[in-house]
């Protein structure tokens, strides 16, 4: 935060924040800093090089990539099966058929993947907060 330079806090046109600090004489509080102002205050390269941060990214990619491949394969199996194996998909179980049941299973697949993602992401949030805490002065 650049508190040493005296500044006019009347929002210059395009004042990137809407919390108009008209008349304020002290420096902007941290929560009002815009992305642009904050950029200069962070050593991005240092955070990126931090081993904990690198581990976090590896964990995320290690989950997101296989999960994305999984749901795409599961999803595209539906048009492939329905398009090229209609006889199989027409097979009835009771009054319903494989085609409908597999389509219906896609909904549950999507919900389950989302639920697993949310659980994992809660862990990433903690890891990210821990990394940021290290760099807070």
């Amino acid at each position: 935060m650049s508190s040493q330079t005296p500044r006019d806090f009347t929002p210059e046109s395009g004042g990137p924040t809407d919390v108009a600090p008209t008349g304020r004489t002290s420096a902007k509080p941290a929560h009002e800093l815009t992305a642009e102002e904050e950029r200069g205050n962070v050593n991005w390269d240092a955070i990126a090089a931090d081993p904990d941060f690198k581990r976090l990214i590896a964990r995320k990619i290690g989950f997101i990539l296989p999960m994305t491949i999984f749901f795409l394969v599961y999803y595209f199996a539906l048009p492939v099966l329905v398009g090229w194996f209609p006889a199989l998909m027409k097979t009835k179980i009771g009054t319903v058929n494989y085609a409908y049941l597999f389509a219906l299973s896609q909904f549950f697949m999507a919900w389950i993947v989302a639920a697993i993602y949310v659980t994992k992401a809660a862990g990433w949030d903690k890891a990210a907060a821990a990394v940021l805490a290290k760099f807070k002065k």
Binding site: A35, E38, A48
Partner: protein, 546 residues
């Protein structure tokens, strides 16, 4: 507006005009205008106007995303498609939900962390901002306007059937004026709450309709599905008996299934009006929870299309639907058959609310992109000349976009064949926007040339292929009405309904080739910063404090 609608209704006193329907339409319009009034008082300043102050909560935004997404094309269109084409229509339902995994896993959180108001913010981060924003803005406005015209024509047609006293032109003007009022005065906050109200109405209407349908089958799922195995209908002079659960009634070519699936599952994560919703929440974690809320609602809704789509086929029969307003009227007609005129009126009002909420979302996404990306950042290099200018430009743009859409919808007329515009919106979103977004976030080497190549090739190829596909290029029978005829009367060059299977790989390929053919060290350097921001939320735009 309301007065003119009421006058038109009173004047005509057409036999089928339903007083309950009018009361519900007017009730919904009045409620949304109250919302707009209160939002207008809060919508001062850019972040308040464009992003509702970033103070929308997770469940609220989930409802709003659902309200923004489940368009009349979903509610009326899919119900009609299932009612007339059986199982193939249900594939849309599946794709519309699974698409949210792409949003959740790949796009929502990085977008929220690294952007401000528009999709282009994320691209402009690492890449040369002016050209990238200009093209991204063009793509956003193209997607939004096309999609909006489809909704407006649908709305005009719908009101005309539901309230026979009101002409198509009055209906289109009414919808247009309302959406302009929401967006110009109420900004993102009003749009959000209109979408929330609509989502609640749509969900409750659908649940009620599904329960009524199942009561007809004594709540026995097997009896319900059993009734679908032999449905008889006429096609021309032929009498056909078909099992509506069998795939292939609409699509004959297996590649059609794949192409449609690709456009749906990759398109949603590139739809600008959905993406900007993630800027209305305080942080990435809330963006995540709002996607989950949306997935629950959207999933339940699309599972219910089983009951009211197949239900319409079973209870009403395709012949009855074709004689009474066609596929788009299947859900309202089913409501009338199950719950009488009052329920018909309610479902009609829900459909009307659905259209209004979606067009408001589209208008604000187009006007935000023009004001923020094009006016402020491309023309004025990211600095406003006067305070509040960006919001003022957005308001004027919303007005202009609304006026143009009204004009185009009236010029096209009620029976215009505009269904392809929705498919086009998804195809452009998947082929142009998604490659640029995903590569920006995940690929270090990605650069401006790649983004430009991907955006332009994706945009041009999806529009180009649509033009030579059967949606535009088909020889119609001599009996087809002039306005409903396909635009180009000749055999299609591209055999599939949806361009996705070709245009999506082309968009990604162009982005890769463009990147590899050029070198931009700055874009690679800034990738470090983007990764830290996207994954930690450091420096992300905050919620306003009041």
């Amino acid at each position: 507006m309301i007065a003119s609608v009421l006058l038109a209704v009173a004047d005509s006193a057409a036999p089928a005009t339903n007083p309950a329907a009018i009361a519900m339409f007017v009730g919904f319009v009045a409620a949304t205008l109250v919302i707009t009034y209160f939002s207008a008082r809060k919508s001062t300043g850019s972040s308040a106007y464009f992003a509702a102050g970033r103070r929308i909560t997770g469940w609220q935004n989930g409802l709003a995303v659902a309200g923004d997404y489940m368009s009349a094309a979903s509610f009326l269109g899919i119900a009609g498609m299932i009612a007339l084409s059986g199982y193939d229509g249900f594939l849309y339902s599946v794709g519309f939900l699974v698409a949210y995994l792409t949003v959740l896993l790949l796009v929502a959180e990085p977008l929220r962390n690294a952007g401000k108001y528009t999709m282009a913010d994320v691209l402009a981060y690492r890449l040369s901002p002016r050209p990238v924003r200009a093209v991204a803005s063009l793509s956003t406005i193209t997607v939004s306007t096309f999609y909006m015209i489809a909704q407006m024509v649908g709305a005009g047609g719908l009101v005309k059937v539901l309230l026979p006293g009101i002409s198509y032109n009055v209906a289109v003007c009414g919808v247009g004026v309302l959406m302009i009022v929401y967006v110009v005065f109420g900004g993102m906050l009003a749009t959000t709450w209109v979408q929330i109200v609509k989502a609640v109405l749509l969900m409750s209407g659908s649940v009620f309709l599904s329960v009524l349908v199942m009561s007809r089958f004594h709540f026995s799922v097997s009896e319900f599905f059993g009734s679908l195995s032999q449905i008889t209908f006429h096609k021309g002079t032929a009498v056909i008996t078909a099992d509506f659960l069998t795939p292939g009634m609409k699509f004959k070519n297996p590649l059609d299934f794949i192409s449609l699936g690709m456009a749906l599952v990759f398109g949603t994560a590139g739809l600008p009006h959905i993406l900007i919703r993630f800027y209305t929440v305080p942080d990435a974690k809330t963006a995540r929870s709002s996607v989950v809320w949306a997935m629950v609602l959207i999933g339940i809704f699309y599972i219910m299309t089983t009951f009211f789509g197949f239900g319409a086929a079973s209870v009403l029969g395709p012949d009855f639907i074709m004689k009474n307003g066609g596929g788009n009227m299947a859900a309202p007609q089913l409501a009338r058959a199950m719950g009488g005129d009052i329920f018909f009126a309610f479902i009609s009002a829900v459909a009307f609310a659905t259209i209004l909420a979606v067009v408001a979302g589209l208008t604000i996404s187009a006007s935000t992109s023009f004001a923020h990306d094009f006016f402020t950042n491309v023309i004025h290099h990211g600095k406003e000349q006067k305070p509040g200018e960006e919001v003022r430009v957005a308001r004027i743009t919303a007005f202009v976009v609304g006026a143009i859409s009204i004009g185009l919808a009236i010029a096209l007329g009620p029976s215009a064949n505009v269904a392809f515009l929705v498919g086009l919106a998804f195809a452009v979103a998947a082929s142009a926007n998604l490659p640029a977004i995903v590569f920006s976030i995940f690929w270090k080497r990605f650069n401006t040339a790649g983004a430009m190549a991907g955006l332009i090739v994706g945009l041009v190829s999806s529009i180009g292929i649509i033009l030579i596909s059967p949606t535009i290029m088909t020889v119609d029978a001599a009996t087809v009405a002039a306005a409903a005829r396909h635009l180009i009367q000749r055999a299609p060059i591209f055999p599939l309904e949806n361009p996705g299977i070709v245009s999506i790989p082309l968009g990604f390929l162009a982005a890769i080739i463009g990147t590899l053919c050029s070198n931009e060290p700055r874009a690679e350097e800034k990738f470090t910063e983007l990764v830290v921001r996207a994954n930690t939320g450091l420096g992300a735009e905050k919620a306003s404090t009041h």
